[in-house]
Amino acid sequence: MTDSPLVQDFATDWDHSDPQWVADPYPIWDDLRQRCPVAHTERYGGGWFPATHAGVSEIAKDTDNFTSRTVVIGNGRPTELDLPAPIGVAPPITSDPPFHAIARRLILPAFAPGPINALEPMIRELCSKLLENMGDADVVNAGTQYAQYIPPGVIRGMLGFPEEDIELFLEFVHIILEGIDHPVEERIIEFEPIEKYFVAQMEDHLDNPRDDLTSYLLNVELDGQNLAMEHVFGTMILILVAGIDTTWSAVGSAIWHLAHHPDDLERLVNEPDLMPVAIEEFLRFYAPVTMARLVKHDMEYQGCPMKVDDWILLGFPAANRDPVAFKDADKFIIDRAENRHVAFGLGIHRCAGSNLARLEMRVALEEFIKRYPRFDLAEPEAVTWAPGQIRGPRNLPIRILH
């Protein structure tokens, strides 16, 4: 976490890594919505935080005034070493129109429902293996023993990297996720062994093409040409960055919720058909992902004097709790019928991996409650939440009730 002074007033000095925000951001957002719908900060070199659904959706859809050149807030701004807009370092998430649509089109077919639904047996096997390894202990850690391993295991399988390399792969994932906001020069050095391994895998796939995401990316054509190896590598890194701690957080939050809402747990155990609807409510209520934008030019926007390169913290989780957009927004309603939540974002950058994320959540929860139909929090105060733009429980000790 940061050594910055604690925040006294989030309306004029917000900080998404302040301990109070990390522990429980919802009351802060409720308060801001009432008195200051677009909050300001001088931290990180200056930025704005809209806490309403209307404010978030307007900015998410406005690519004329805001750029996605970086989507993770840091103290610096993109440097000359980073690719400029409209491409950015990790297309399509860091791309602006018109290039964005090209980069997005390349990956969408691989994440469409057809190919994703075919992964269900693989995901189920992975989850049940993890549960098997957790054994018959009275207390299990649903974060560090379960949720954490599902997304990297699934992506390893999708990429078609050898199963016996899983430990190495997990180590790479760790380096990538930790290094995401390191300066480019550092990142290049840290990523060296990763690039070497990935390139070796790509070469193997070029020699022996198969039906997996790596072969797909190597074969896909842009203007009649295959992608350069660096482009394929960059896309793989993006998929790892975008697909892992996001889904891990979503699965963890759902288990955390069920562990202290026995009625909801019982309903899910007894009414398996409720799962897809419940997942949308988990996504609304515990949306794990907050993104960022940079202001493109000085302007007055939503009543605020925004300056070029000011940050926008795009709080999809806050939008999901806005009572103007959702009835009983502050209540978790497991069978909520109307749910236009924006956990996957809005507009052109809407999550490309949402079909996969939903499938992973469904299978992970189905397998967990099948194995443990009754559980609660072993140590509620021991649960820790990830700081920063991806929110979810990390340490999650669960007591199994027999």
């Binding site: 077919p109 429902p113 897809p276 019928a337 939540h341 809005l346 079909n355």
Partner: protein, 68 residues
């Protein structure tokens, strides 16, 4: 009341995250990119209208239109 009630998806607005075809798979399907499409000509009956409305009220992009 005139002709049949019809549902359509505006492809310019749809971002393809599939609330519609998971809620109402008989009315909506998806294309190769995972974008939502209406099955057939989108004519709704009194049996399917309510389901189409439910899908509409779950589309975060407001891309689904039901017209008479």
């Amino acid at each position: 009341m005139g002709g049949p009630v019809k549902v359509r998806i505006d492809p310019e607005i749809c971002q393809g995250q599939g609330r519609c075809f998971s809620i109402a798979p008989g009315i909506f399907d998806f294309d190769d990119l995972g974008n939502g499409v209406v099955i057939g000509d989108g004519t709704l009956t009194s049996d399917t209208l309510e389901l189409a409305r439910l899908a509409q009220s779950n589309c975060p992009e407001h891309a689904i239109f039901i017209e008479e």
